[in-house]
């Protein structure tokens, strides 16, 4: 197992956000995590990446059989866990191109112009500054590729991108990450990413718990489309967990 999360309970301040999450991801596996806004998906992503804003009260996160629950974010990145942020913060005065060179471990990034993405404004601007929401997603993806991960967590990579760019981004993910054996956890509330990737496993998170899991993403998607997230607890798949 590449990533193993066992009975994870997490608080932000005094509020319990994650309430006993269990999640396993194998090497090369593609996993999709669906859930409505506020269900705890982003907190889960941040906790896996090592954000100390969130306190683990119970449970354990292991990566390649090593307990990483108390590791710093940079050590997790060095081990191979890389998060593509949903809303990356602005870093004033730091030019994206310089930053990318600083963190780059991948030869691919040296041929960045071949990616067929409109990235000139990203390259010229400061990190996450004066660029659109879609460009931020592309910026995140380029950084992810530069860091040569073993596991990528894409937090809402499919929101804010137009169809054309989403397609290109997904092609890039396929070619530069998935085909090279990188495992991926796609976090999404709208499920658009499922038009491009056929996951090995699809999960649904509600109120800090993973309430549903299936290998058949179509069944889950159709259930959500039909009943909405609020009615997921009544989903027939739930009894098959």
């Amino acid at each position: 197992m590449l990533l193993r999360i066992k009975n994870l309970w997490v608080k932000a301040g005094s509020k319990e956000i994650l309430k006993g999450v269990n999640l396993n991801i194998k090497p090369k596996e593609k996993v999709v995590l669906l859930g409505p806004n506020g269900s705890g998906k982003t907190v889960l992503a941040q906790v896996i990446a090592g954000n100390k804003k969130y306190k683990i009260n119970q449970g354990k996160i292991s990566f390649s059989h090593k307990d990483i629950s108390n590791l710093s974010p940079e050590k997790r990145t060095t081990l191979g866990i890389v998060l593509a942020w949903q809303a990356p913060p602005k870093i004033s005065g730091v030019k994206f191109q310089d930053f990318l060179s600083k963190i780059n471990k991948s030869k691919m990034i040296n041929d960045i112009e071949n990616f067929d993405l409109k990235i000139s404004s990203i390259l010229e601007n400061e990190l996450n500054t004066n660029i659109s929401g879609g460009e931020k997603k592309i910026s995140e993806l380029l950084q992810v590729i530069a860091l040569k991960p073993k596991l990528v967590i894409f937090d809402e990579i499919d929101s804010g991108l137009d169809i054309k760019n989403l397609k290109r981004v997904c092609q890039l993910i396929e070619k530069e990450l998935l085909e090279k054996g990188v495992a991926a956890l796609f976090i999404t509330h709208n499920g658009h990413i499922l038009n491009y990737f056929k996951p090995d496993k699809t999960l649904v998170m509600l109120d800090g718990k993973i309430i549903c899991q299936s290998k058949d993403y179509k069944k889950i998607l159709s259930t959500i489309t039909k009943y909405g997230y609020e009615k997921c607890k009544k989903c027939p798949l739930l009894s098959n967990r």
Partner: protein
């Protein structure tokens, strides 16, 4: 930050010894005491007879940046300088001024009174770099006089401050002239007092003062910035402070004085700390906490 080729400086002084004066064509460079004797008009600007310092008179357009370098090299060395820079009408000049200590523990004193004159339509881009030892006392006091239609872009950068820095700048802007001052200072184990006074005297003169100050390692930074509009002027004052540790403090005092109803003066001032979210973000990119803090500081100071 040390100047790489001090031998190329047009004026180069170590402690109180002038090592080199090289004036290019169109520029006259002298010790200020020599100029004081040679040109009676110099006395209009240098009120007292100077003992040390430079006189630079740019008479014709030059295509190279003027460079001065003044260093402290000996233990307890004391420099008291009177400098005068005059740029003649319509010239477009760049000047780089380096003042530094060659060692970290000299306990030196660097005091400089400087006058900069921009004649009608002159333009000066002036980069002033300071790099000091931890035990030095530094007290520069500069006055800039901008005649009609002239323009000054003045960048002061100090990323290695002395134990104590008292830095005063006065700017007087006549009709249609423009002052753009940017001060970048990284305070570590230091006590700094900055005073920036800008008098917009002539009609349509404009001024922009930007301060970016970082206080780290028990530093105490105080900045008083004042813009006065005497005429139909526009001016903006932007002061930003970044506080790194709890033992440090930053005090920003923006002051706008409007003496003409058609003038427009504005200011923004803020003091903040490094955002935890930014730190975490950079750490998820593989940077250590220290590397991430340095990157944020360097970005803030546009290093």
């Amino acid at each position: 930050m040390v100047m790489k080729n001090v031998k190329n400086a047009h004026y180069y002084q170590i402690d109180n010894k002038v090592k080199n004066i090289t004036a290019g064509k169109g520029v006259e460079i002298l010790e200020s005491k020599v100029a004081y004797k040679k040109y009676p008009w110099v006395r209009k600007y240098l009120k007292e007879k100077p003992s040390k310092g430079y006189f630079i008179w740019v008479k014709k357009q030059v295509d190279f940046p003027l460079m001065t370098c003044i260093s402290l090299a000996s233990y307890k060395s004391i420099q008291k300088l009177s400098n005068l820079l005059v740029v003649e009408e319509g010239l477009d000049i760049k000047a780089n001024a380096f003042c530094n200590a060659l060692k970290n523990d000299l306990c030196g004193v660097h005091q400089a009174n400087g006058i900069v004159i921009l004649k009608k339509g002159a333009k000066l881009e002036y980069l002033h770099l300071h790099s000091w030892g931890e035990k030095d006392l530094v007290e520069p006091n500069y006055e800039f006089y901008l005649e009609k239609d002239s323009q000054l872009n003045y960048y002061y950068k100090n990323f290695d401050p002395p134990k104590e820095l008292n830095f005063k700048n006065y700017f007087e802007a006549q009709e249609n002239s423009q002052v753009n001052l940017k001060v970048y200072l990284l305070g570590r184990k230091t006590r700094v007092k900055l005073e920036e006074i800008l008098d917009l005297k002539g009609k349509n003169s404009k001024g922009l003062i930007t301060l970016k100050l970082v206080a780290d390692k028990k530093s105490n930074l105080e900045a008083i910035s004042k813009i006065t509009a005497f005429n139909q002027n526009t001016g903006h004052l932007e002061c930003q402070g970044l506080l790194i540790d709890d033992g440090s403090s930053i005090s920003l005092v923006p002051n706008l004085v409007c003496k003409n109803k058609k003038a427009q003066l504005t200011h923004e001032a803020s003091i903040g700390k490094i955002s935890e979210e930014e730190l975490t973000y950079l750490r998820t990119r593989g940077l250590t906490e220290k590397q991430a803090i340095n990157l944020i500081i360097n970005g803030f100071l546009e290093k």
